[in-house]
Symmetry: C2
Subunit: 350 residues, 2 copies
Amino acid sequence: MASIKDVAAEAGVSVATVSRVLNNHPSVSDDARTRVLAAVEALGYRPNAVARSLRTDQTRTLGLVISDVLNPYFTELARSVEEEARALGYSVIIGNADERPELQDHHVRTLLDRRIDGLLVSPTDGGSPGMLDAARAGTPMVFVDRWIPGLDVPVVRADGRAAIRDLVAHLHGLGHRRLAIIAGPAATTTGSERVDAFRDALAEYRIPLPDAYIGQGDFQAESGRRATEGFLDLPEPPEVVFATDNLMALGALDAVRARGLRVPEDLALAAFDDIRWFVHTDPPITAIAQPTPELGRAAVRALVDRIEGRVPESVTLPARLVVRRSCGEPGPAQPPVPTAPVQTVRRSKS
Amino acid sequence: MASIKDVAAEAGVSVATVSRVLNNHPSVSDDARTRVLAAVEALGYRPNAVARSLRTDQTRTLGLVISDVLNPYFTELARSVEEEARALGYSVIIGNADERPELQDHHVRTLLDRRIDGLLVSPTDGGSPGMLDAARAGTPMVFVDRWIPGLDVPVVRADGRAAIRDLVAHLHGLGHRRLAIIAGPAATTTGSERVDAFRDALAEYRIPLPDAYIGQGDFQAESGRRATEGFLDLPEPPEVVFATDNLMALGALDAVRARGLRVPEDLALAAFDDIRWFVHTDPPITAIAQPTPELGRAAVRALVDRIEGRVPESVTLPARLVVRRSCGEPGPAQPPVPTAPVQTVRRSKS
DNA sequence: CTGAAAGCGCTTACAG
DNA sequence: CTGAAAGCGCTTACAG
């Protein structure tokens, strides 16, 4: 592979001059510039980013550590992150933690070893050692979606409280009184917040949330299946299950189907996080949608602000309820529904 | 951030010695080793991967350029690639081409600038300039899923021909005679192969595949929607549509639903690529499943073989038909189906 | 405007 | 077993 030396030789100038034209330094004669460019072209020269990074102490690379690539929510997030980063002149390296703290730490460490300029994280837990070290070491960092309380790190996320209130109002209006939830890990903010918001909203209707109606999940499908089976085995099973992410909703569907039961007749279902397939599931699933691409973009902007010496801002965007048919909503006569118009309920004020 | 010099000073040895213990070089005294390790611990030292890469001329990093991260097939592929790479001591950087050749080239170039040790690609087209340059420049490379003919690059992929024959036999057995297909871009191998295989299989039943029954898609949902609308507008619409990837199948479902029609009564649907949601769609979708994780692993092994001086092998694995209910298969009385056992049809011999 | 030189943080023959 | 030194490919004061 041609190096800057080869280009310099070919152009008959010093490597300093080559470097200058490559970096658009103003003080280069037109003549030198022309010859360098010709040499670059002739040799198909491409600067070695590794050498440049070592010298300049910046990689123009962002690390993104997400909890699970197979979760469409995170995939969409990753995509918007890469897009915005590219627009700002950065590359992004994704690390998939698979909801495993040790794997998350592995990626944080690897990313730091590569001297990424900043780190975007949606932590898998309450704060693994590597994570905490990174934050304390002063690595530019921003949390997206999930975060770790008590750290001085900006957070970009969606607020689901209002949408969860809307959901509970919706379910109550449909006549449901026994409502259960499949929670994510309590160590994650989204794990605990969604349960809290759900409990608070139920309280407004004086409906309790007994422990038996709280299924402990880990944001993966299998845990949603298990939790749902647990609910169905109860002497008095719930009428509705609220799965706090789309994969656990998938698991819940698996469980219901495995018993030969039906949604929503035998058990209604709602999910946090909306995905395109929810329109076509049997039945279409009522869900809470996050403004995912906006979150990704805002997170990148905050991180780049921090990296480039500006003051980063935390951002909270509203989530919204999307009503479909999985909670026993009235609709066109069964079976299979034609055009199911998507109703959107705006978040209630405050 | 502590450098190797700091560690050397702290341990009272030269940087050479520090480097040796870090790289497990045998000739280091126990005493020196102990002191270096203690210094490393005390300073929380982590070697700078950028500097190491510059010096050793290897990054222990693989590039993976996929056509679309939002496609669950590629997400699953990416996950298994990262997993296998990690097991072999490599990191992977993913580039998402979004089915756009220029974006693909951008990523190939960026990855090469970073001096990745090898490149795994599922090309978006017949071969963008950057792609071709990389192959010719001698970058260790392996194609996964899609490939570019005429290049001396190993290919790891699934063979869908047998499964497509099985599918056509299945559809014919169900009484369907007017069969349409939504193709991917002709410039991609998977785009053209699936149509060819479909046409050949139809020919065995003396069923023609008129141009009007070939919808031109681009592997994205929107194109599946458009193609399906085109079919429905035909004076004699097809009885079945075979979408050659899962996103175009999603688009097809959107189109059918938008007209207030039903699958499979008004139009049957089958898809290439199986995803977990197909079990729960209305109706559950008959699809051709690829051994995706195995493909990812085999591709990494081939690439690492190539990088480490061994001889890489091309690998072709069979895809298989998974029969569900979207093609008018007989099943438990409508509506909503309880336990839908997944039948698997093994690939026919030859 | 231009070049010689230093230096980023490592690794690795080479000499002892 | 150990250290001094060269060098990977760049960038950037510094001097001219």
